[in-house]
Symmetry: none
Subunit: 277 residues, 2 copies
DNA sequence: ACTTTTTTTGTAGTTGTACTACATTTCTGC
DNA sequence: GCAGAAATGTAGTACAACTACAAAAAAAGT
């Protein structure tokens, strides 16, 4: 939220910017202020404050205050959440954790529950599940495989374009492909998904909304991540993807019912032997 | 906040309890409701709603809404955050995300900054970095490798006990092993770490505090995760591990300075070619 | 350089919301 | 069953949020 204000500030008019400065200077104070109080502090008129709220995409002042309060509560305080070269380790920790938390909360707020439900339906009744992804999304695919195979579903993960294109060709109706690509624009992935669809398989995408991959899928789940494609490495994105996979896995697990729980217990005890007491 | 309402509910009067039920049932809706709307839904009069707010120690309805909004944003919203078999998809989403966020915030609060700094020191000056982990932690190891190799450091990840025990034997002083095990009790991993230490390599552990693995390492970073070893699959644990790896990677990147940033830009443009416009 | 048009900002007024004082109802103890 | 106390609702008030409009400032055109 504070980031958003910072971002939109240059596009604002002079007097609205005064309001923005006031909010950024002492966000905590603002959430208990009335319009009049904030207007006085920013030395502008009351409607200007309202216009400022509207410029941020809020319904009005109340809505603005609510959103601000929420964003402050999550501890995500840094206006520039991008790490700077001269940050102390303590700050780096805070910023990285905060940006992960912020991405998660944002995604939770705007996640398409209907799509989740559709995806769970498909996965729960799948004969076989294949996860495709490259690079960072490849890790997510591996993680998903690791989670789903415990649910006693035949599952594989492919992170190689040639391999998944071949595998996609021999899919059959009843099989499900989960295609993971943060941008949703990976050429190789899209090609394999098209092959999979032609073979009659269902497709679940974890990809940016409106992307080519999203359009191709029977159910698309889109993580909400910052636009600032950071100079460093995509990070929060994978975290969100992983949690989405968690949701799907648990959703499927719940469908499978109690006998699955028993089976999970069994894998757990087997694992114990690999550990020290 | 919701917990507080739950706690205070028995001490409330009958009609105030109706309001409490309404708030607990759909907290999200309430934050955008007016007094009149909430009163109508709870089938009580408007002053009753205000009395309800006062009973919770709030100044009034606005204050109540603000606090509620904050507590909802900060994560752990469900009184029992463990997923139940009869949860609706919407609830599953909320609970899974919430538990991830809660784990992250908890870890951020109690992370050992000194250990982080020591780990970054070791990694930044490493000649070669090897990541070891099994199962879910194996995914974390792969992810770490994927992140660190972009920092132009010779890096590998091993998720096989035989392989990493062999590799550990041929390490030299100046090399760094990052051992990832959530419990910190994996026999195979501990064995390889001992071999690595004998060979003169430095060891960074991402493991539970006080565990055997933690004792063996030069720097140990411990995630804070729920004790409730869920019936289902370990989930939040990996998320926290991944974010810790993010912190380490960024810490190292910052040490490396601006020439690294240029190199990262290069990998980015190369990747573009694999994508659709 | 002056006028016209557009944009930006403030003023005054309206609506609706939160809150208060008081009346009515409901419960409890004698 | 009645008196007192507690709880709930009704009616009214004050104030906050928002709107319509007008004045001022800036931008564009002549």
């Amino acid at each position: 939220m504070l980031n958003q204000i910072e971002t939109l500030k240059p596009r604002m008019r002079k007097s609205e910017r005064k309001v923005a400065d006031c909010v950024l200077a002492q966000p905590d104070t603002v959430i208990s202020d009335s319009i009049a109080a904030l207007a006085a502090r920013a030395q502008v008129s009351e409607p200007t404050v309202i216009r400022f709220c509207r410029a941020l995409g809020c319904d009005g002042y109340q809505d603005f205050k609510l959103r601000l309060a929420q964003s402050l509560a999550s501890g995500v305080r840094f206006v520039h959440s991008v790490v700077a070269p001269d940050d102390a380790p303590r700050q780096v920790v805070a910023k990285v954790f905060d940006s992960a938390v912020a991405s998660l909360l944002r995604t939770r707020a705007q996640l398409d529950t209907a799509a989740i439900e559709r995806a769970i339906d498909l996965l729960a009744s799948a004969r076989k599940i294949e996860f495709y992804g490259h690079g960072a999304s490849g890790i997510v695919a591996l993680d998903a495989q690791h989670k789903f195979f415990r649910l006693a579903v035949p599952t594989v993960a492919y992170i190689d374009a040639h391999v998944h294109s071949m595998s996609a060709a021999i899919l059959e109706p009843g099989d499900v492909v989960v295609a993971i690509s943060h941008s949703g624009r990976s050429k190789d992935l899209i090609a394999s998904v098209q092959v999979a669809r032609a073979a009659g398989a269902a497709v679940v995408a974890i990809a940016a909304a409106g992307s080519p991959l999203a359009e191709l899928a029977h159910a698309t789940i889109s993580p909400a991540v910052d636009e600032d494609t950071s100079t460093y490495i995509p990070m929060s994105s994978r975290i969100v993807d992983l949690v989405i996979v968690d949701v799907l896995a648990i959703g499927v697990a719940l469908r499978r019912g109690p006998d699955l729980v028993r089976r999970l217990e069994k894998t757990k005890t087997t694992l114990m032997e690999k550990h020290l007491s």
